[in-house]
Amino acid sequence: MFPARFDYFRPQTLEEALGLLQEHQGEAKVLAGGMSLIPLMKLRVAKPARLIDIGRLSGLDGIEARDGELAIGALARHAPLEESPLVREAVPLMADAAGVIGDTQVRNWGTIGGALAEADPAGDWGPVVLALNARLRCLSARGERFIAAREFFRDAYATALASDELVTQVLVPGPGPGATGAYLKLERKAGDFAIAGVAVQLAVDEQGVCREIGIGLGAVGLTPIKAVQAEAILRGQRLSEATLADAAEAAAREAEPVSDIRGSAAFKRDLVRALLRRAIEIALRRSRGEQVEAGHV
């Protein structure tokens, strides 16, 4: 299992990278951490004629709070994202997700930008950026644009990125007061793709009313799914048993799973219900200052 031949470029600057992308539009693939692309190339599912290695471009792996947003460079790797005190404090669901991607070796080299651009339907970052209403900063030689997470995923392994464009940053809106979240997935075994994953970001006021809610579902459709109906059921409501049950039902309806070797479609809908309930529970406990493990069920 060896890749087909390709030409290799390792630009020294972002400008050079964008220039190469424009020059080789449609024939080139971007190599960042390589954790998704190289396996596909080894299976010869992907056979790009040219590879533009941006893995060592400087200044693209920062994690910083800026202008009320959390700005995460596209080359930020999963392991530092899991460990970043800033991420753990501000958006713990990102640390949850980062900690359950693949395995240690993959988390050491795989990047958030690469994973998002790969748009694997079972990827862990998709539901997280949907729950967080993040935006993706995209650059090309033509200029800059921002794509909302909700607009980004178009199909399995297909995104709104143009063939000369590069994701350079993930911009997460600064969480409101008391806002927190959790990401949970169930796998067949450690390091496997999610059978289903649910990301929740919420804020509950002192009266117990849900002021802010974001829900992302992973591995239950061709793209990650933003569960807008479930969000609508919860937003502005007290999180009573009945409301939570309604929201879980809505999220299960919004999911579009298919049966595969990891589970039946009906099971995956059940899992969306179960994981959503658990993720909300963890988020609520976290909002009360408790330390709660998440990531895996």
Binding site: M1, F2, P3, A4, R5, F6, D7, Y8, R10, L31, G34, M35, I38, P39, M41, K42, L43, L51, D53, G55, A79, G102, D103, T104, Q105, V106, N108, W109, A190, G191
Partner: protein, 163 residues
Amino acid sequence: MSSLRSIRVRVNGIEREGQVEPRLLLVDFLREHLGLTGTHIGCDTTSCGACTVLMDGRSLKSCTAFAVQADGREITTVEGVAADGQLHPLQEAFREQHALQCGYCTPGMVMSALYLLSRNPNPTESQIRRAIAGNLCRCTGYLNIIAAVKAAALKLNTRRAAI
């Protein structure tokens, strides 16, 4: 048509050069070009971890990197772990705890455990399990490997304390 590229990689402390096709996987550069066959191949899908090495100190599955990506970087393979003919305390612990049988996954396990101990000198059992979750072993059932990593941490800490 792709052409050969020159790369320079520091492997186990020695500067190595190579003329490689861009598509050459790092694991094949190590095994076929440098003759460092301790790094093994057990799958095609970044699953088994038998090919784990350290690149710039971080563990990496060398089947999931191109040799050209290692240009200018530092690689440690299992051949570079023992020094001066002496087993590393981690290797000693593997032997003492019977943490290997057929030995095929062992180099990758050693490298993953070495990486863990470089980051966390006192890992808990669950941290050890998580650290080697990207390395499949079919012989041992893992429990002796977990015990070996624990024992190695103790050895290393004792040695550090003695210095």
